[in-house]
Structures are given as structure tokens and as C-alpha cells.
């Protein structure tokens, strides 16, 4: 049986049911973080607390007692400069990764600023239009920037997990890779992704979690990338498919540029492997 990390809401009865499991717990209220940690660590392992907030980062009521807790904060924006810089010394001490939607130049720009200030950041590449050029510029900064800076996802994930012989699915950065994460609702129903859970698409119950890997819908989702080759769809012919897995196929025609970004990401990953001595360079 594959041991998944379970992503669930903060509901104490549910957490009690999930004894012995590794959990990602999502909350909207930042002030719940210490309680979540305390509750989860009684009988479970805490992978991370996912905060999904409508407030800007600068307005999150984070406190020094949250220092040892891994926090993934989904925020709409960084927020007002004065407030942010006042909070920065605390943010730098936390185990925090800030998730920003990669729409518009401001968040992409702010990801660079946060990274340069030592705050780990992740771009959520959803919605349209995605600014591929700005993201490529950010990627180059992340990979080749002169000074030390914090990680920027999903670039760091792909570069760290890149292999010449297999595909890399950076959905894990967003806790959305069914190979690694399953989403559990308060009533125990299981979904393959956060989007599925929101849309009410479930594939089983907690009681049957051990058999989930045999479910055909699970297998289909797990092998989703291979369908591009069976169907001969456009992304199957893309040189960067191995690191993007056709995630942007729906907007590829209207907003091309993903190929350039992911080809650059592959090139950087390849160079990194050569630098690390993992791949032999041959003339």
C-alpha cells in the first residue's frame, strides 16, 4: 500500500480519525496555526499547515510562537510595503513558503523581491493570462542570480528533482499530486486534488483508503500525462513536456510561451545535473 500524505481541513474529529497519518491541514484563519500543530502532533505527523487567506501577506497575523511550524501561505498579494517590512524580521524566522498567483506582473515581481529577502516563494500557475516572459525572467533570476536567495517554486522543485529518464510533476509543490497527496473532506470522502474536492468529485472513503491505488480513476489520473501521447495532442510534441506534463495545454494556443519557459527550465536543470556531476557531459 502506498502511504499518501493526506490534505484535510482542520476538523478535530477528522484529525482523530486519521491517527498515524502524515497530514497537510488547511485553515483560513492564521490564528489557528498553533492549535492545529498541537492537535495534529498528538497522534499524527504534521507535514505542513496550508493557510488559504484572502488577506495580503503583510496583514497575516503571524506570531513568533509559529516559528517551528511549516506554513504554506496562499495569499492574494504581498500587501502594503510599510506593513510588510515591519513584519519581515518575523517572516524570516518562520518556516514559511508564500504562494502567489502568477497573474499579472506585480506578484511575479514580488516573488523575486521575497526570494531576495530570504522568503521562500511559490508561483501558482493558474488562470489566464499567464505572463510567460516575466516568469522566464524570474526563472533566470532564481537560477543565475548573483546573491543567495530563497527558493522559488516550482522552479526549485523541477531543478532538484529533474531526471533524464523520468518525468517531473511539480504538482507536489501545491499538494496536488495524487501520487503523493490525497485530499480528505471532513466527512471522510477522498478526492484526488483540491479542485476535485471543491467540485465534489470523490473517489472513495477513508475506510477504503488502502485500496485507493487500485481504483481505475486513481490510475487514470496518475497516468494522465501519457494520454497526450495516446491522443497525439500538441503538448506531446513539445520538447519541455517532461517537466510540464501538458499542464497548460488548454491555454497553449491562446497564450503560447509555456514551451519557452519550460524549455529554459529543462536547460537549467540539465546544466545543474552536469555541474553536480550527475550527468556526464559529452562533446
Amino acid at each position: 500500500m502506498k502511504q499518501h500524505i493526506l490534505v484535510c481541513p482542520f476538523e478535530p474529529p477528522l484529525i482523530s480519525r486519521l491517527q498515524g497519518q502524515t497530514l497537510v491541514v488547511h485553515v483560513e484563519d492564521v490564528l489557528l496555526i498553533p492549535r492545529v500543530k498541537e492537535q495534529v502532533e498528538r497522534h499524527n505527523r504534521l507535514h505542513c499547515i496550508q493557510v488559504i487567506s484572502s488577506h495580503p501577506l503583510a496583514r497575516l497575523e503571524l506570531t513568533p510562537e509559529m516559528k517551528a511550524i511549516p506554513i504554506a501561505a496562499y495569499v492574494p498579494e504581498v500587501g502594503e510595503g510599510g506593513e510588510f517590512y515591519e513584519k519581515l524580521p518575523l517572516l524570516r524566522q518562520l518556516g514559511l513558503q508564500v504562494y502567489l498567483a502568477a497573474i499579472g506582473k506585480t506578484n511575479i515581481r514580488d516573488a523575486r523581491i521575497l526570494s531576495s529577502l530570504g522568503i521562500a516563494t511559490a508561483l501558482v500557475m493558474e488562470g489566464v493570462p499567464l505572463d510567460w516572459d516575466a516568469m522566464e525572467d524570474l526563472l533566470v533570476y532564481f537560477a543565475y542570480g548573483k546573491s543567495r536567495h530563497a527558493n522559488i517554486e516550482p522552479f526549485n522543485y523541477v531543478i532538484s528533482n529533474y531526471s533524464r529518464t523520468s518525468m517531473v510533476d511539480f504538482s507536489s509543490v501545491y499538494f496536488d499530486n495524487p501520487n503523493r497527496y490525497l485530499h480528505v473532506e471532513g466527512d471522510g470522502r477522498i478526492a484526488l486534488s483540491a479542485k476535485d474536492a471543491q467540485a465534489g468529485v470523490f473517489i472513495g472513503e477513508l475506510d477504503s483508503i488502502d485500496a485507493i491505488a487500485d481504483d481505475p480513476r486513481y490510475k487514470e489520473r496518475r497516468d494522465k500525462a501519457e494520454r497526450f501521447f495516446l491522443e497525439g495532442a500538441g503538448c506531446a510534441y513539445c520538447g519541455a513536456f517532461r517537466v510540464c506534463l501538458g499542464k497548460f495545454s488548454a491555454q497553449r494556443d491562446a497564450n503560447p510561451g509555456c514551451e519557452k519557459l519550460f524549455a529554459k527550465l529543462m536547460e537549467i536543470s540539465e546544466n545543474q545535473k552536469i555541474r553536480d556531476g550527475v550527468v556526464l557531459w559529452q562533446p
Binding site: 510595503g81 517590512y85 531576495s116 533570476y141 548573483k146
Partner: protein
Amino acid sequence: MANVLLTQRCVRSCPYCFAKKHMDGSVPDDIISWEDIVYIADFLQDSANRGISLLGGEPTLHPDFSDIVLYLNARGFHVHVFTSGIMSTSVFEALKRKLSSLPKRKLSFVCNVNDPRESTEKELRAVGEFLTDFAPQVTLGFNMYRPDFDMRFLFDYINSYGLERRIRLGLAHPIPGEMNRFLAIQDLPKMAERIVDYIPDFARFKIAPGFDCGFPFCLFTEEQVGRLFAVMEGRLKFGCGPAIDISPDMSVWCCFPLSNVYTRSLYEFDSLQQLVAYYENMGKKIRIEAGGLYEACDDCSYREQGLCSGGCLAHILSNFRTEAKVRPEFMPP
């Protein structure tokens, strides 16, 4: 320390302005981007440089001015801002709200002021408000572009607002190929006499003047140099070295007056040390051709001892304009 031009726009139009060429050619959205600010911070940090000067135009015109200061502070830089002190109410309020609590070790200002008789009431009021609120962090800067300047108002400002007891004295230099007002070489002795006249005032008010670049040693007698040394608290220099200005489009030059001539891109250099070395080397080559402002500079013992660099390179280069074009690499356009 590198000077970063946040914008080329300005609120004033000073006749001596070294940056006039850049102001005139600038477009309204000619401001530095955040991406470039991060690049510059990385570049300087990588060069083990922990100080940065923000200039313009008027740097506070950059819409993110306060956030840039806070960002650079957060990156561990001391930020030194060159401002006219003239800003709109909204900009000033934002400045007070975000920056007034920063200590002097993190943020300081040079407020470049002109003789009040050459400023409007509105400008004077704005400067007054700025000096009132940021007094302990402000050093006054004064640019001399004519020999009959009057500095008494500077003493009044320092005493009434409680500013840093220093004055940064700048010489208005010629921009090769441009028409800005500057102190001609023949006017320099008069300017020097005027400074010497103020020595008793500097001593009486305990205010230390400091020379910006390009002052020749020989403008003063050795007795005068001794008196200046005393009022300047030992910080007397007669140098002219690369100041390194970085413009919003990431062009670099060694100082404003020479920005017409030796502009490069920051991306061509790996470190500030490399950049400074490039411009020092350029300066040396020119000074091999002409030791300084005067013929006598070639054999001058002060210059040989490194006590004087022979005056401003822009002056020297401007003299080349009248010569045959046998050294095209030094020729201003």
C-alpha cells in the same frame, strides 16, 4: 558607494544641473524597475558593498521610493538619499509614515539646497517641512556655480532646523558638449577666496564643510589649507575619482559630468570593484595626456604625492575639445 538614479525626472530646473542632459531626454515613466533594484542590490552585495546612494532627478518622485528604501535596508544596506526636499504632500506624508522611524545608521539624506532668493515660496515651504521632520538625518548640500555665492542661509538652516552640522560643498562642473552653468577655471580662485572668507563662520557655528570632488589643492595657500583642515575635522580632500552612477536603464558612468562620454552597461561588469577599476583606468589615461586643469599640474608636487588629483576630469576633457582630434577615444561628442 554606488549612486542609483531612481528616476531622471526632477522637480527643479537648476541652471548648473550636471544631470540636465538626462532630465531633458527623459520620459515620464522613466523610472527604475524593481527587477533592476533587486539586481543592483545583488550586484553590490556580491561586491561586499553595504552602502547605496539614491539619486534622481528627484528620487522621491519614484512611486515606490519609500518601499525601495525599506527593501534596501532589509537587504542590509545603508541608504543615503540625495533630495531637493521638495515633494508633494502625499509623497511627504508617505515618507513620514514609512521612513521617519528609521535610525541614521540605516537612512540619511543630503538635501541639496539653492539660495532661497532663487526659490519660490512653495519650494521653500516644502523644503522647510522636510527639514523639520527629518532634521537629525539631514546634511545640507550646496552646489557652487558662480563665484559670488552666499552661504549664510545654510548656517541659518542648520541652526534653526537642528540639522547635521556639516555642509557638502559641490562644484558645478562642465558637462562636455552641454550648456550647463558651471564655475569656469578662471573663476575657481574667486570661489576659493569666498570659501576662505567663511572659515570663521564654520568655526563659530561648529559646522564642518566637506569638499565634493574636483577641488584643486593649489586654489588655497598652505596656511588656508591648514585652517580648512581644522574646520573640516580632518576630512579635507582634493580628489576626483569615479562616483559610479547607475541610471534607470542600467547604464553606468563614472560621474554625471562625464556621462556623455563613457557610458557602459552595468551588465558588462561582474562587481563594483571591476567597474571602479575600469573608470579609474580611464581617468588615468586622460591624466597622462593632461595632468590637471593647469599646465603646472604636470609637474605639481601635490599631485605627485597624491594630495591632489588636478581638478575635475570633466574640465580637463572639455579642454580637449579645442585640440586636434588625435585621441578620438577621449573626445566628447
